[in-house]
Subunit: 331 residues, 2 copies
């Protein structure tokens, strides 16, 4: 069974739950917008199901619900952002507010976010830049889940890469992918249900393929594209943690329980002014590329599905499952 | 049979061949350094075997061997680079010379190269930045070889991504991967030998898996990580061609024959000052990450193999196959 909620009602519900758990009103509103938008985009794994864990972490002090993120412009093109062990989304709001001006001035600029938390659906953050006419690339690290290629230790997170570009006369192009072949949430779901995993998803602690969800959780996820995905996950660690001063994946605590130190994860956002670089025809050229893709039967311009799902949800509301409603009410 | 040449002798041999084909002395020297370094790094597909095609293209005017690349600093953090339909390597030399100063000033800077040619082994270019203490990310597009996910038209190149980061007290970390599962050169090699392809490498013109090299050349390459590799290849098109004003993959002529207009490809390089962003301990932290990788049995820190191969070649020279020697002599 489900309950249908408008976007506004869902945001209110989440924000109130977060405030009950010990989160400031502005921070709770930011978290609520991000989780509800993720749910509306069809990314339930980063949506309302996260409220219970977020609330437990705020209660336990593993995340500081009252933290106020700060920025420092350490170079003309660099914002150093301290999320102060609060939720990531208030820090992303600051970045979305401040970074575009730097990018327009210097042509390319970046934000390095440290002492941060779960980055959620990166597509939603990079899309904000595209809505302002900027190209954005964002990477985030996550608690250890993948090994270096050939290894067994979970040194890297599933480490998403997201990218958005504005298109003349159309919704932006938005790419968002994690570097594991399959999201780790699917392994957790299989473990909860007690069903085996499909082959090729995960490795056990000795690096051998496994279909046992428990062995997979004790082991590592298979990277997307094998060695190539593992290499890109390493690149993300360097950018999102190495450059920001955040914890590396193997130093970060879990995002799913309320035990231990704050995760202290990092995110790195690059914003680029496409017209400054490519001239006034750039967004038209990008729209042409998207049209070539759309004209090839069987394909889809990345990002369209999520944008359309959010439009539909804005009109007809969200169908929230009863167990999710109950978990939020129980906070 | 092979001939053993010192690095210097190999560079002289290539530079002389390029000059005979109609390439300026400085441009020929740059091409020779790049192709010999690729060969020494074990990347024969981007090494001395390219001399014949490069020379034919210079003779035919498909590439302008005398072109002088130019740069314009269009924003504090942006170099717009016109390779002027010459070889890519003289343009990369300019970028390697000029971009670090911008990156140190603004914290992050980029070079957008248009009207360019074969980018060769990107690892060699990004490594130059790491040798100066900078982190570098580079992408290049290439003639159409991969489809958008689910499609059949070769809209994207195999589009490499490369990344380098300096490590305190160690060789840099260097990642370099193309976004097709397998290099297209391996399909060409199978076609020459008349042997079938392994399964999973390529699709025919209708998008169906094929092991026939001819059908594969008329079709598309399978992206690394399936839909994820295709999405990243699109990201590379946006950066390397969309932002630079270069041809998209589907507009670019072949790098292997001397027919038609110049390829007009593009490359995009981002250079980042890691210490400006992460503070003085950053390169030590990055070295620690590399040590964690190296400590996991069965793994390798990306880039080490190529750097060691080049060191060995500098000591003992290159073993060049007789057919390659003959092709260079025949220019």
């Amino acid at each position: 069974m489900t309950t249908r909620l408008s976007i506004e009602a869902a945001e209110r519900l989440v924000a109130e739950a977060m405030q009950r758990a010990g989160t400031g009103p502005a921070q709770a509103a930011s978290v609520a917008r991000a989780l509800v938008a993720a749910e509306a985009a069809g990314q339930g794994g980063h949506g309302l199901r996260r409220v219970a864990a977020y609330a437990a972490q705020a209660k336990a002090g593993k995340v500081d619900g009252f933290a106020a993120p700060t920025t420092e412009r350490v170079r003309p093109g660099v914002l150093a952002v301290d999320a102060a062990h609060g939720f990531a989304f208030p820090a992303f709001d600051l970045v979305a507010g401040q970074l575009p001006a730097l990018a327009c001035e210097t042509g390319i600029a970046c934000a390095a976010v440290r002492r941060s938390h779960h980055a959620g659906v990166l597509a939603l953050t990079v899309e904000r830049f595209a809505q302002e006419g900027l190209v954005a690339l964002m990477v985030a690290n996550a608690p250890g889940a993948m090994a270096a290629w050939g290894g067994t230790r979970p040194l890297f997170g599933t480490n998403p890469i997201a990218f958005a570009a504005p298109l003349e006369g159309a919704d932006p192009l938005v790419i968002d992918l994690s570097l594991s072949k399959i999201a780790r949430g699917k392994v957790m779901a299989a473990r909860q249900k007690g069903v085996p995993l499909p082959e090729g998803w995960a490795l056990d602690r000795d690096g051998n393929p496994t279909t046992d969800p428990d062995a997979a959780m004790a082991g590592t996820m298979v990277p997307a594209g094998d060695a190539k995905g593992a290499a890109l996950a390493l690149m993300v660690e360097v950018l999102a943690a190495g450059l920001t001063g955040a914890n590396f994946a193997y130093e970060a605590s879990s995002l799913f329980d309320d035990v231990g130190d704050p995760p202290g994860l990092g995110q790195f956002v690059v914003a680029i002014d496409p017209v400054a670089i490519g001239g006034p025809g750039t967004l038209r050229r990008l729209a042409g590329l998207a049209r070539e893709i759309a004209a090839d039967p069987g394909t889809r311009v990345p990002g369209r599905r999520g944008i359309e799902a959010r439009r539909l949800a804005a009109e007809t509301g969200l169908a929230v499952e009863d167990d999710v409603m109950a978990a939020i009410a129980a906070v």
